[in-house]
Amino acid sequence: MSDLILKTAAQLADALAAGETTSVELTQAHLDRIAAVDGDVHAFLHIDAEGALSQAAASDARRANGDALHALDGVPIAVKDVLTTTGLPTTCGSKILEGWVPPYDATVVKKIKAAGLPILGKTNMDEFAMGSSTEHSAYGPTKNPWKLDRIPGGSGGGSAAAVAAFEAPLALGTDTGGSIRQPGAVTGTVGVKPTYGSVSRYGLVALANSLDQVGPVTRTVLDSALLHELIGGHDPLDSTSTTTPVTGLVDAARAGATGDLKGVKVGVIKELAGEGWAPDVMAKFNESVDILTKLGADVVEVSTPSFQHAMAAYYLILPAECSSNLAKFDAMRYGLRVTPDGDPSAEDVMKASRDAGFGDEVKRRIILGTYALSSGYYDAYYGQAQKIRTLIIEDFKEAFEQVDVLVSPTSPSTAFPLGAKLDDPLAMYMQDLATIPANLAGTPGISVPAGVSDVDGLPVGVQLLAPVLEDARLYRVGAALEGAIGPVLSIDKLEVAR
């Protein structure tokens, strides 16, 4: 095994710049790692060795030519299968899109291609990003590389596992209710949900449009900052895209790495640190809070009373939007088509295709959303949920008048065993308790590894939240915390063979 896979993206970028390696060489190293371990991990749905190597060769040629290069040019990346890619299937983990190759690239994919990052492949996910364990993928679950009988989190378990298993130094995920941060926490990786609208959603197959956001999954805070700056910025194809430039994140990460947090006010969210949280997770979280104090931060407790209703609001708004989004999968234009026997009508074909193409969790949410939007119920459900959303935004505003960043554990427990919550949707939904408020409010959030549980030796994440468009604060505090805690993820700790 090449030691190249152990390097962070920033280190790989430096090695490429110094001429110590080539993009082809390090891309091949990652493809070899994928070939060696992905049979066990199943982080990838589609692997594009040929495409990645040819992009790597192009990067090497640019470098040899002295052409202007992005800092990450030549560093390979994995992309969650919910982002459209030309020439590579995009299935969203669903049977209904099996084999669909989009005719266009998502804006973020265009950006990483333009910057010269070879795309290793598309990563596994819960079907249409619905789930917290990647067990709802129609193509089989992803395993947690730390312990293969454990879940890697969801819905972006594939991206997190690929990075945690050293199959890719960087990955793109999407976070609708915590799908980057929660997998990050349970795999010992860094996951970021940027400010809503600061990264284009064009080409992201929508789960819930008002909540979705694309973001980085990496092994270090600095790597996330590098990738976040690359994918961020205004996109005229996304009407909700902000016009504020996404800059200063890498600088903030570097400044944070010095370990000085003097003058930074940190609020511990009272409602997200108590009952319902595993004691081993709370222990690690409390250690992180102590570290923040030692680094000079001013730590206080902050109350956000509306957060207790966030889950309820989320599970009305999300199904409502997704019930509408998923209507386009009608077997008429692309994807799966099931034709029943006899003389079926268009409607019969549609019914049979949707029945066969969608999994249980997807059907559950379509039915929930359809119900929540129905006339006579709209005000009681969807309307009330939107009111809660407004209250949560108010809570954030008030909290951020007192502090610069908020902290909580990312996930209530470490990675649970595969199958443990599969028959209990509510228990599964609880995994995103702490991450959901940020999606409802559009605020940015990061999950940083906080160490490993004293009980099961599995990683625990700490979540930092900042006001809208203040993503840089997350990188500063996150990098400081990361530096003080020290490396959590190492290849030797994984159950996946070295």
Binding site: L97, Y104, D330
Partner: protein
């Protein structure tokens, strides 16, 4: 089921009609409502599409600012209020011509509300209240192959063309229109005509009812005479000519009355209109509980036109058509009847341009309403498309005024123009139409005529000038009608003095 139709006059003895109109107008923006695809009519099927208007997974809409501008101008021209803040919503239902299986439309937050339009029918003015006008996207076009009806049920397969999917639409909805009695069909027609004229003046749409760029749904109900409660309504979809609007109202009134007279209830449903027979037939049942599960479109930011912009757009509005007609009528000195005919023939703008090119209002009316209207009728085209321009009409008239063409010769020039024989000058030249005013050539023809009819010449010599007509006629015949009749008379009288 055979329907008993009650004669129109009898309907009014027992019932009061109420109707409402929903008019869909395709805007003539360069690009579609939510993407950059061309919004032009026609084109190879599915040649003007992209991921967004095809609703492909991951695609997102962006609002066309020009369409918003058109919507605001329409709202202002209809005396409406412009929302300070409004949103798009999703109207969810499954249909193959709708690639996302929801239509992006406006629901409870239309951009225009509370407008009105005054229309005149036989000297009586009716104020049509406009409840709202909202923006939405058009759907694709389906062609159902096989099956007897041409409808989706019973078809072997369907072809879908998404070129039209995503073209910007404005839907203009009236409040129920009451108290029009026997004039209901005419008021309905007059409203659509007035609306069409305003939209044409604004330049926001082609308003071609035959091409579907303007489509009208007619809601109608009857209530027992004197009752203040609205009856159950039917909605006749896609009525696509002014005449059909009138006929649809008339037919539905007769049909409803037949059902009500029999003591039965009207079934709330959509109806299809048949151009050939002027009748309607049952469509699908429609209840007030149609559940489209509207909710605000999360992919689009709200539309919040600034008041400055709205006022700026108000400044771009053309003179309202009714006011403009009154002004022109006064300027041109037309009678009420003449003005009505001109308007009905679609000649108003053409005459206005012809006058602007230097022709008198009377001359302009004469050519457009006689020669050219007849040609347009023969060819079955709009007057504006007959192939003669206002500038050409003015040019011909100038030649008449200058004495180098007679009216009769001018008609021949128009014949040439309609046949595409070239410019006015080329036709006059090629057809040899210029008036013969050369005294030498005319003199010879006059001498010939005098020689040929000595008896007539004698009468004239004897002081009977009226007898000159016979000689003039002979000269005109000899010159192929190209002689200046006034000059011919002068020459005859000179020679026989």
């Amino acid at each position: 089921m055979t329907e008993t139709l009650v004669p129109f006059d009898e309907v009014l003895e027992r019932y009061d009609p109420a109707f409402g109109l929903e008019v869909h107008v395709e805007l003539n923006t360069n690009t579609k409502m939510f993407c950059g695809c061309p919004a032009t009519f026609g084109g190879e099927p599915n040649s003007q599409v992209c991921p967004t208007c095809l609703g492909l997974p991951g695609s997102m809409p962006v609002v066309n600012a020009k369409a918003v501008e058109s919507a605001i101008r329409i709202g202002l021209a209809l005396n409406g209020s412009i929302a300070e803040w409004c949103r798009f919503a999703r109207k969810n239902y499954f249909y193959p011509d709708m690639p996302k299986n929801f239509q992006t439309s406006q629901y409870d937050e239309p951009i225009v509300y509370d407008g009105y339009l005054d229309v005149e029918v036989e000297g009586e003015t009716f104020r049509i209240e406009i409840e709202r006008a909202h923006m939405e996207e058009d759907t694709g076009k389906t062609t159902h192959i096989g099956g007897a009806t041409g409808r989706i049920h019973g078809a072997d397969y369907s072809l879908v063309d998404y070129n039209r999917a995503g073209i910007p639409l404005i839907e203009i909805v009236t409040r129920p229109i009451l108290g029009t009695g026997a004039k209901a069909p005419l008021v309905a027609k007059a409203y659509v005509a007035a609306l069409r004229e305003i939209l044409l003046g604004l330049g926001v749409s082609d308003v071609r009812m035959d091409q579907g760029s303007m489509r009208c749904d007619v809601n109608l109900s009857l209530s027992p005479k004197g009752s203040d409660k609205l009856g159950t309504r039917t909605e006749t979809k896609n009525v696509n000519s002014l005449r059909s609007v009138e006929r649809a109202v008339r037919f539905e009134m007769s049909r409803h009355a037949g059902i009500l007279d029999a003591g039965e209830a009207i079934f709330q449903e959509t109806r299809h209109f048949h151009e050939d027979t002027g009748t309607t037939s049952a469509g699908r049942p429609k209840s007030d509980a149609d559940d489209y599960r509207y909710f605000p479109e999360p992919d689009l930011v709200p539309v919040a036109p600034s008041r400055e912009w709205v006022e700026e757009l108000r400044g771009t509005l053309p003179e309202p058509p009714a006011e403009k007609r009154a002004r022109l009528q006064a300027e041109w000195g037309y009678s009420d009847l003449e003005m009505r005919d001109v308007w009905a023939a679609g000649a108003l703008t053409l005459i206005e341009s012809t006058v602007a090119e230097g022709a008198s209002a009377q001359a302009a009316r004469k050519w457009w309403m006689a020669e050219l209207s007849r040609a347009a009728n023969d060819r079955g085209v709009e007057l504006a498309e007959v192939g003669v321009t206002p500038a050409q009409v003015a040019e011909v008239q100038k030649l008449v005024d200058g004495g180098s063409l007679t009216d009769k010769l001018a008609r021949q020039v128009f014949e040439g123009l309609l046949a595409g024989e070239g410019t006015v000058a080329e036709i006059v030249d090629a057809r040899g139409l210029a008036v013969v005013s050369d005294d030498g050539a005319l003199g010879a023809a006059v001498d010939e005529a005098i020689d040929a009819q000595p008896a007539v010449a004698e009468k004239i010599r004897g002081g009977n000038q009226a007898a000159a007509g016979a000689l003039i006629g002979a000269v005109m015949k000899a010159t192929g009608g190209k002689a200046d009749a006034k000059r011919v008379r002068e020459l005859i009288l000179e020679k026989l003095a």
